[in-house]
């Protein structure tokens, strides 16, 4: 029942959640200390080969880890000392969804500098549909996803004629066009943004009302925390399914060698467009959530520098590892918010931290791993079968 591995999975999940909590609650120094500690643990783990054991335990006992994380999210609003930190956690969740989408593109070898534009497309579509046409925010969020994905496809067709640096340059230009278009179109709110974006509501209950559980009044951010992390859970699940499927393998092979990919029967255009469309859809979903959560969106949330931050989150977390990019997004969101103490020097400090981390560990916090198919157990059986066959055929 309680094997050594299940206890290990439990322990790792609890420690991971606790570290995130400490980073969220503590000062900037504490957050950085947690980051350094996590890095140190990873390095030691890799040297001694313990990381493989931990990963295997967690993947063999997914339910335990899932339960621990769910409980952690559920009780987080009760443990946290102020609403602002809860807001940081919600933003971390929203950014995680964006980076999961961006990860599809980077995993296919396309570094997309227009993620904030897709994020913004979702946010603006959703916010404008809700404010101007009075549609339900749930519906408009889906429309936001669809419009971001459509933009991804529309934009992908000409962009995918190029590759590498040239593709990145084109995505940069899309990002710049997006920002300028928003500023110069008064119907889209122009430089003033879109105020008064309605909140989600379930029945008559708006999610912007404080949540009362067990006689305790939780701030409204708790509603959004639950909503965002449920959606994050679903998107992580989808990203993992894709990663372990034929689609994910095709994306990786395109990143490694396009000629090999195409001679194995992979339609490069189709798969690259898919990475663009799905990544944009994730960003669009996150954009919709963002608009209906903050009730105000402005163009400064969707600029080029935001796109750079998203790329940094993926690089820091670990390209092509869904858990890694979520961790990267959460850590960078926390560090970024903690750096508000530095006021004018905030971006300087932020960049310094990034440079140091990427110098020390270019592969990211949780680097990509060899796919361990669920058939891993089957392989042990297969080995036994083959050795049996070998014995029989030998004289």
């Amino acid at each position: 029942m309680f094997s050594k591995n299940s206890v290990l999975a439990l322990l790792v999940s609890v420690v991971g959640c606790a570290l995130l909590y400490i980073a969220l609650e503590g000062s900037i120094l504490v957050a950085l200390a947690v980051l350094v500690l996590a890095l140190g643990l990873m390095v030691v783990g890799e040297r001694t080969g313990k990381v493989d054991l931990v990963c295997r335990s967690v993947s063999d006992h997914k339910r335990i880890s899932l339960a621990v994380v769910s409980v952690f999210i559920l009780i987080l609003p009760f443990m946290i000392s102020n609403n602002y930190l809860l807001h940081v956690a919600v933003m971390g969740g929203i950014y995680s969804i964006v980076t999961l989408g961006l990860n599809f593109q980077i995993g296919t070898g396309m570094v997309n500098f227009a993620t904030a534009a897709f994020f913004g497309t979702g946010a603006y579509t959703s916010a404008l549909m809700a404010t101007k046409f009075g549609l339900s925010p749930w519906l408009t969020t889906i429309l936001g996803m669809v419009s971001a994905a459509s933009l991804g496809i529309l934009f992908g067709f000409p962009a995918l004629k190029t590759r590498g640096y040239y593709l990145s340059l084109i995505t940069m230009s899309l990002q710049v066009i997006f920002t300028l278009m928003i500023i110069n179109t008064s119907w889209l709110g122009g430089p003033n943004g879109v105020p008064g974006v309605p909140a989600y509501s379930i029945g008559d209950v708006s999610l912007r009302m404080p949540l009362a559980i067990f006689g305790l009044d939780l701030p409204y951010q708790a509603n959004y925390l639950y909503l965002v992390f449920i959606l994050l859970g679903l998107t992580v699940f989808a990203a993992l399914c894709l990663h372990n499927s034929r689609t994910g393998l095709a994306w990786n092979s395109i990143e490694q060698d396009e000629i090999v990919a195409i001679t194995q029967g992979i339609n490069l255009t189709k798969m690259k467009l898919l990475a663009f469309a799905l990544g944009a859809a994730f960003a669009g979903l996150a954009g919709g959530l963002y608009g209906h959560y903050t009730s105000f969106i402005g163009v400064e949330d969707f600029t080029f520098s935001k796109s750079l931050v998203f790329i940094c989150m993926v690089l820091l977390g670990g390209i092509d590892n869904p858990f890694g990019v979520v961790l990267g997004a959460l850590m960078l969101t926390i560090v970024d918010e903690k750096l508000r103490d530095f006021a004018d020097y905030r971006m300087l400090m932020y960049s310094l931290i990034l440079i140091v981390i990427l110098l020390l560990r270019p592969q990211g916090l949780l680097p990509k791993r060899i796919r361990q198919y669920q058939a891993a157990n089957k392989m042990r059986e297969a080995k036994a079968w083959f050795s049996l066959k070998g014995e029989r055929s030998s004289p």
Partner: protein
């Protein structure tokens, strides 16, 4: 019955005719493609596998015209190939590289991957079984290393994995571009016996092999086609080709 044939296949690179009006046909057999350096052998394979589009001429494969279609469509129709320099995805495991070879046979879409995971995992585990079987066929020792990245595998095994990747999807025609390049004599004979095993199995695979080692050519090829400066100069069994005046001239000069 021809598996594949070309009619007056030509490609120009600027003023250079790299392949010049080549008529070629292959039945259920192994054909050795010979010729001095720069005679257009690899270009010919690139044309057949769809990497280059011909300037003129026709390529027919199993009664359908595949002239000018993309490499991914060519692979789906049943023509697989290997490369002269090893081209495996170095960061991926052996099993992932082999699964890539099955890509054209599998059907799971991204939608099914998310919403019908059961169906996909069934397809995946069938694929894994097939890959492990092929791997065992080539080198039993590799089965236990199936989850290691290619980075950690020696050259000879990489070559085997590349050949295994090209046949795991049961192609009808296999194009091997110098499968023994860079290997020593002992490794060469191992690879050649591996290739022989493919034909001895019950799969019906026709092959075109580019090879410089005449011993290899004479031992496994039913027929030899010789190219020189893009033109076909001989097409016969090995012994006859050896006596061919034009071939001797192309190889030895004078």
């Amino acid at each position: 019955m021809n598996v594949m044939y070309t009619e007056a296949l030509t490609i120009n690179f600027g003023g250079l005719k790299a392949v010049d009006a080549v008529d070629f046909n292959i039945k259920d057999e192994v054909i050795g493609l010979l010729g001095p350096n720069g005679s257009g052998k690899t270009t010919f394979l690139n044309l057949v596998s769809g990497i280059y589009k011909p300037t003129s001429g026709r390529i027919m494969f199993e009664q359908s015209d595949i002239t000018g279609v993309g490499p991914n469509v060519v692979r789906k129709k049943g023509i697989a190939r290997t490369f002269q320099t090893n081209r495996l995805c170095l960061d991926l495991s052996i099993i992932d590289n082999l699964l890539l070879g099955l890509y054209s046979q599998q059907t799971a879409t991204w939608w099914q991957a998310i919403f019908q995971p059961k169906r996909c995992s069934r397809e995946l585990s069938q694929g894994i079984d097939k890959c492990l079987e092929i791997l065992h066929h080539f080198n039993p020792a590799l089965v236990s290393r199936a989850y290691e990245p290619i980075n950690a595998i020696p050259l000879i095994d990489r070559r085997r994995i590349e050949i295994a990747r090209s046949i795991v999807g049961s192609p009808r025609l296999l194009l091997l571009d110098e499968p023994t390049a860079g290997l020593n004599a002992e490794e060469t004979s191992q690879i050649i016996s591996d290739i022989g095993k493919i034909r001895n199995g019950n799969q019906k695979i026709s092959m075109i092999i580019i090879e410089h080692d005449m011993v290899v050519i004479s031992s496994i090829c039913h027929r030899v086609v010789v190219l020189n400066a893009g033109k076909k100069i001989a097409d016969d069994c090995f012994d006859e080709v050896c006596k061919n005046e034009q071939v001797c001239k192309a190889y030895l000069g004078g």
